[in-house]
Structure formats: structure tokens, C-alpha cells
């Protein structure tokens, strides 16, 4: 049976964030901005005012094409800022506490991994080549004297079992594992500190379809057993549909639609999302995949008004001004077409 870290161990990690099931949302992202300085001197607006909420027990998929700001959003949540950051502001509330206000050291100690963990793309390079797997996987528990070595390794064995890797591999090095196993190790690593939220950034895009299917099943199983909250970042619409309860769609650094999965995958609201879904081939229905003309705008110099207007078939004069995020039932859309709600 799966074993979570007991209450005593968690409190020694000086957690100041409530872990009980509160009534409020698990994660609330409010007016978050993240701009970078580009090499040529301009400002890249990777995350340009994003707002959304995620309730406990719900998993979220963030979709969009390459370069729309999805990964930057993840980095913004985990405060993994590069050297050339220009602007970083907003509020990020985790179970009601604004973690943006934490100092760097407190953030590192209290939030990273223990509350929010991450599974990154291309696990090939995400594992330290000169450390044994068990040391890397158990590392988040070993630092800051959080648990004893014995307990940490035991926990490592446990998470390996959960993701389906033989525990003997804990004594190996990263280069001795196949691609699929490495990806699973990363997932295991993300689970070890029993976080509230796991952000997965393109977890399967570097793998073949069979391995993809395996990983997907493992994730589904984990979700059910441990009742974890996922945020799933992907450009692969098809695979994300299996795991997501809600979908956030991003375009040019902005959030353009936030709906439930059923709604998004069948009948999205935003014209961009509609085009996106229309481009995905479906198994049981015959349809000709569509495409969108033109290119997404550069994040260095986004256009005035609605950023999708240029490529939108449904644009009209209102679109010259930037639309706010309208509520539409349970959902949110950033489009003038839904002004009246």
C-alpha cells in the first residue's frame, strides 16, 4: 500500500501552508507577468497577465503551440527564473497563501518540491549523470535534514514501485536506463516529497507511442491512488485529453480560454481553440484536419488589441481593442464574441 509522509515528518519541514482540504482553490494564479530581456535588447513578454484557478482534486491541461508561454508559466509558478528576467509580478496563491511574497530561501525550503514539484521535458538530460539514481530520487528528502537516510531510501523504493520500475535500478546510473525508464524516474522523483501539485511539462513528447501509452497509464493510476493534482503542459492535444479535468489554452503569452475538458475537447469557445481542435484528427469521426494561416505573433512585439485577431476568421471591429477575460458559465474566454456572457 502506498504510504505518505507522516504528519510529524511534514511538520519538521516547517510547512506554513495549510494542507487540509480547504474550501478555496488549491492554486490561484492572479495577474502574473513574466518578461525577459532578449539578447538584442527588447522585452520578451512570455507570460502577459495570466489568471486562473485550480480546485483541489482537479487536474489541468495547459495547451498551446510552441512558444506561446506555457513553459514560462510553469517556471513562473515555481520561480525558476533565468538570468535575464526583466519583470516578474503578480500573485500566486497556494491553498490561500501568496507564495509570491516568500523570500527566495523560504520559497526554496517550503514550496519547491514539498508543495509543488515538476516533471520536465526530455528526461534524458534531467538526470545527473554522475549520481546514482537512489541518491537523486531521495535527494529532496535528504536535504535540510528532512528525514533520515534510511527512510528516504525506503521512500525512494516506494515511489519506484508506484511508477513501475524495478527497485534494483536505484543503484544504477542514469545512462544505464532506457528513455521510458528515465522518464518514469523523473516522475517518481516528483512524487517523493508528497507534494500538493505536480507540474508536468511535456512528459511524453520525447518518447515513442508505446512508451507514451505506458507512462500515461502510470499517471492515471497514480492520480487515482494518490489523489494528486496535476498541471499538464503540452502541445499534444490528443494525449492531454486522457488526463485533464480542465483545460487552459494559451496564445501569445495570454490565457485565451479556460474550460472543462468535456467542453474544450468537443466544443471550445475561443476561435483559436476551435481551430486547434479542428486540426486534431479523431478516430471515430471522419473529418479533414484544418489548419490556421499565418504565424503566431512575436512575444517581443505583440500587436495591439486581440492577439489572435490577425488570423481569426471571426474578427470584427471590437477586436482592435484587447478583450478582457469574460466569464461564460463555468468557463472563461478572452474574446469579444462572448461579451454578454
Amino acid at each position: 500500500m502506498t504510504k505518505k509522509l507522516n504528519h510529524k515528518q511534514k511538520s519538521t519541514a516547517r510547512v506554513a501552508i495549510s494542507t487540509e482540504k480547504s474550501n478555496g482553490p488549491l492554486l490561484k494564479v492572479e495577474d502574473v507577468f513574466l518578461y525577459f530581456k532578449s539578447a538584442t535588447g527588447g522585452l520578451v513578454r512570455a507570460v502577459d497577465g495570466v489568471n486562473f484557478e485550480l480546485n483541489p482534486g482537479r487536474s489541468l491541461a495547459i495547451v498551446g503551440e510552441s512558444g506561446c508561454g506555457k513553459t514560462s508559466l510553469a517556471k513562473a509558478i515555481l520561480r525558476l527564473l533565468p538570468r535575464n528576467v526583466a519583470t516578474y509580478k503578480g500573485r500566486i496563491l497556494l491553498s490561500g497563501t501568496d507564495i509570491m511574497k516568500f523570500g527566495d530561501e523560504r520559497f526554496r525550503h517550503d514550496v519547491r518540491w514539498v508543495k509543488i514539484s515538476m516533471v520536465s521535458q526530455a528526461a534524458m538530460n534531467s538526470l545527473n549523470p554522475v549520481m546514482k539514481l537512489k541518491d537523486q530520487v531521495a535527494e529532496p528528502l535528504l536535504i535540510d535534514n528532512r528525514t533520515s537516510k534510511k527512510e528516504a531510501y525506503e521512500r525512494a523504493r516506494e515511489v519506484f514501485r508506484i511508477v513501475g520500475i524495478p527497485v534494483a535500478f536505484l543503484d544504477r546510473y542514469a545512462f544505464e536506463l532506457s528513455g521510458g525508464m528515465r522518464q518514469r524516474s523523473i516522475i517518481a522523483m516528483a512524487l517523493i516529497a508528497d507534494p500538493l501539485l505536480v507540474i508536468l511539462d511535456e512528459p511524453t513528447s520525447a518518447l515513442d507511442v508505446l512508451t507514451q501509452a505506458n507512462i500515461m497509464n502510470a499517471l492515471k493510476k497514480i492520480k487515482k491512488e494518490l489523489s494528486l493534482n496535476y498541471i499538464f503542459i503540452t502541445h499534444d492535444i490528443a494525449t492531454s485529453s486522457e488526463l485533464a479535468d480542465e483545460v487552459v489554452c494559451m496564445y501569445a503569452g495570454q490565457l485565451v480560454e479556460h474550460s472543462t475538458a468535456e467542453r474544450f475537447y468537443r466544443d471550445p469557445l475561443h476561435p483559436y481553440a476551435q481551430k486547434l481542435m479542428a486540426s486534431v484528427p479523431t478516430l471515430h469521426v471522419y473529418k479533414k484536419p484544418e489548419f490556421i494561416t499565418g504565424q503566431p505573433p512575436s512575444l517581443l512585439n505583440p500587436p495591439e488589441g486581440c492577439r489572435f485577431a490577425e488570423r481569426c476568421t471571426k474578427r470584427f471591429e471590437r477586436c482592435q481593442k484587447e478583450p478582457p477575460l469574460f466569464a461564460h458559465g463555468d468557463e472563461f474566454v478572452k474574446c469579444w464574441l462572448y461579451e454578454r456572457g
Binding site: R112, S120, S126, N128, V130, E139
Partner: protein, 361 residues
């Protein structure tokens, strides 16, 4: 653990053998070159004649004889000896291997003109006496260079692009000049013009009597040569290593380590320093080899009584056995350096000892 040691052991043995083979080839080449004019043969003949002469000196029976007769007799004895030792056989390949063996075991007989400080004429004594002197200077300089380069490079890699970074990078071309070059300038400034540090040599005269003052004196004399060596390699080294640090700290697993909540110290040691050590060590090996070469001129310029300066003196007075001897010792020293680094490599990089083949960049 036992498995690791045995794997390590096998690996080490293989490397040692291969390196020794390399040394053998190097020394053989030297023997061939050195004897191209029959020089080594001449030296040996002279040595044999010397010993025969010494033996005859104590022989009463020869006392009363006229000198020409004695000389003729000695020459006859010498020729007999040559025959006995097979010196009339062709050089290549038979005797060359004999010389090769003697050279490898440093059994090089008497020097032609040079004496060791203790008065011995045996080449092996002369050289072995000087070996620790050279090693002292070499080891100190390398240690200083390694530590300085490592820390400054690490320091700079976190401040990519700022003024100090660009300044030190700009100084990288200064390493185009070797250590002895800077040595000359240092002697000029600190010795001749300012007069605060000694011009050369290893000790003050008269030689200090207490161990403490002896050590201090050596240290004082080491300052300029060590500084010269370090100057000649420091900035290029910092440039290369800082580039390595930059490349290695932008690896994905470092990013993940940050996400895992590790402190920057933890990240630096486990995620940046350990993976980056192999290429740093490889580059340092090359620096070390270059420095071994430069040692010869450096010691000459600073009159440091080590292997380098005796090599120079030997070339000045044409002392063949000593020259050969130094080349052989150098071969061994270089091989030892390569071996030591390979060993450290195997310890820190699991890919080398576990996986098939080295994955060195």
C-alpha cells in the same frame, strides 16, 4: 564495493601497462636519436677505458714500465673488453635494446663532466638528487594554479557578462607567453629594479641551519618562479574552465536540481562541479604537460637546481649520459602524470569504469 574496487583495479592495470608501453617507445626513440652518430657508443667506450685505467692504477706490476707500453696494454685490455661486451655487434637492433633496457632502469653509468652535489658521478645519483627539487617547485606551482583557476572560474561563471568577467577574459591571451618569459620580467622588476626578492637559486647563502629558516628560505626563493609559472597559464585556464562551468550549469539536470529545492551550494558541488571535473581535468593534464616542458627553461632562468637546469647544463657541456637520463626521467614523469589523472578520472566519472568506453568530452 568490492566489485567497484576490482573493476577499478583492472582498469588501472590496463592503463598502467599501456602507458608504460608508451614510455618504452619514447625512450627507444630517444636512444635511437641519441646514438645516431654513435655517441652513446663513444661514451661507453670512454667509460670502459676509464675503469680499466683505474684498475691499472693500483697494479704494481705496471709501475716500472714505459708509458707507451702501458698505454698499449691498456688499449688492448679495452679492446678485449669491448669484444666481451659485444660492442662490436651491430647497433640495430641488438645493442639498441640493451641501451633501451639500461636507459629504462636508469642504469646510465657515469656522467661525462657533471657531478652531483654530493660528489657522485653516477648519473642516477645526479638525477635522483635533483628530482625532489624539481617536484617541489612543480607541485607547488600546479597546486596554486589549479586552486586559483577553479575558484576564479566558478566565481566568474555566475557573473557572466559583467565587467570583471570581461576583464579576465580579455587577459586570456596573456597565456600565449610561457612561464619563463614572465619569469624574466619578474626578475627584472622585483630582483633588479626593486631588489626585494631573490634573483634565483633555491637557498640563501650561507645555507640556513635551522629547518624553519631553511624552509622559509626555500619559500622565499619559490615566490618568483611559482608566480611566473602561474602567470603563464592562469588566464587562459580561467577562460576555458569558466566556459565549461557555464556550459555545465545550463544543463537540464541543473535546472531540475533547482526545481527540487536544492540550495545553490548543493547544486554547485553535486550537479555542476562533479560532472564538469572530467573535461577540467583533461584540460589541466595538457596544461601540466606544457608546464613540464617549460620547466627546463624556467629552472635555467631562475637557477633553480632541479632536473631542468641540469639538463641545460648537460647540453652546454655535451654530457650525453645525463642528457639521456633526463629525457628518460621526463618520460616517466609525464607518464605518471597521465596515469594519475586517468586514475582520478575513473574515480569520479562512473561512465568510465562502469560503461563501455569513455564518454569524455
Amino acid at each position: 564495493m568490492r566489485q567497484v574496487i576490482s573493476k577499478l583495479g583492472r582498469f588501472t592495470l590496463m592503463r598502467a601497462l599501456l602507458l608504460f608501453l608508451a614510455v618504452v617507445i619514447g625512450v627507444y626513440l630517444t636512444v635511437l636519436i641519441a646514438n645516431m652518430g654513435g655517441r652513446i657508443d663513444d661514451v661507453r667506450r670512454a667509460e670502459i677505458r676509464y675503469y680499466i685505467g683505474q684498475a691499472a692504477f693500483g697494479n704494481q706490476a705496471l709501475r716500472g714500465l714505459p708509458p707507451e707500453e702501458v698505454a698499449a696494454m691498456l688499449e688492448e685490455l679495452a679492446q678485449l673488453e669491448f669484444e666481451r661486451l659485444g660492442m662490436n655487434r651491430p647497433f640495430f637492433p641488438e645493442r639498441s635494446f640493451e641501451y633501451l633496457w639500461r636507459a629504462l632502469t636508469l642504469d646510465l653509468g657515469r656522467a661525462e663532466r657533471i657531478n652531483s652535489d654530493a660528489g657522485s658521478r653516477q648519473v642516477s645519483n645526479i638525477l635522483l638528487e635533483r628530482l625532489p627539487v624539481t617536484l617541489a617547485l612543480f607541485a607547488t606551482a600546479d597546486l596554486v594554479l589549479f586552486i586559483l583557476s577553479l575558484f576564479i572560474a566558478l566565481f566568474l561563471s555566475r557573473r557572466y557578462g559583467n565587467f570583471l568577467d570581461r576583464l579576465i577574459i580579455g587577459l586570456a591571451p596573456s597565456s600565449a607567453a610561457p612561464g619563463w618569459f614572465y619569469g624574466l620580467f619578474l626578475i627584472l622588476i622585483f630582483g633588479a629594479v626593486l631588489g626585494i626578492l631573490p634573483w634565483g637559486g633555491m637557498l640563501d647563502a650561507p645555507i640556513p641551519d635551522t629547518t624553519w629558516s631553511y624552509a622559509l628560505s626555500v619559500l622565499k626563493h619559490m615566490v618568483l618562479p611559482v608566480t611566473a609559472v602561474v602567470l603563464g597559464a592562469l588566464f587562459a585556464n580561467i577562460y576555458t574552465w569558466r566556459t565549461f562551468f557555464l556550459i555545465y550549469s545550463s544543463e537540464d539536470y541543473v535546472e531540475l536540481a533547482r526545481a527540487k529545492g536544492l540550495s545553490s551550494r548543493g547544486i554547485d558541488t553535486r550537479y555542476v562541479l562533479r560532472p564538469v571535473l572530467p573535461p577540467i581535468l583533461t584540460s589541466f593534464l595538457l596544461v601540466l604537460i606544457t608546464m613540464w616542458m617549460g620547466q627546463i627553461v624556467l629552472e635555467t632562468v631562475f637557477h633553480w637546481p632541479g632536473l631542468g637546469s641540469v639538463f641545460y647544463t648537460a647540453t652546454q657541456v655535451s654530457d650525453t649520459p645525463v642528457i639521456l637520463g633526463v629525457v628518460v626521467i621526463y618520460g616517466y614523469l609525464l607518464a605518471a602524470t597521465v596515469f594519475a589523472l586517468d586514475f582520478v578520472y575513473a574515480i569520479i566519472d562512473p561512465r568510465v569504469r562502469v560503461g563501455g568506453g569513455a564518454v569524455r568530452k
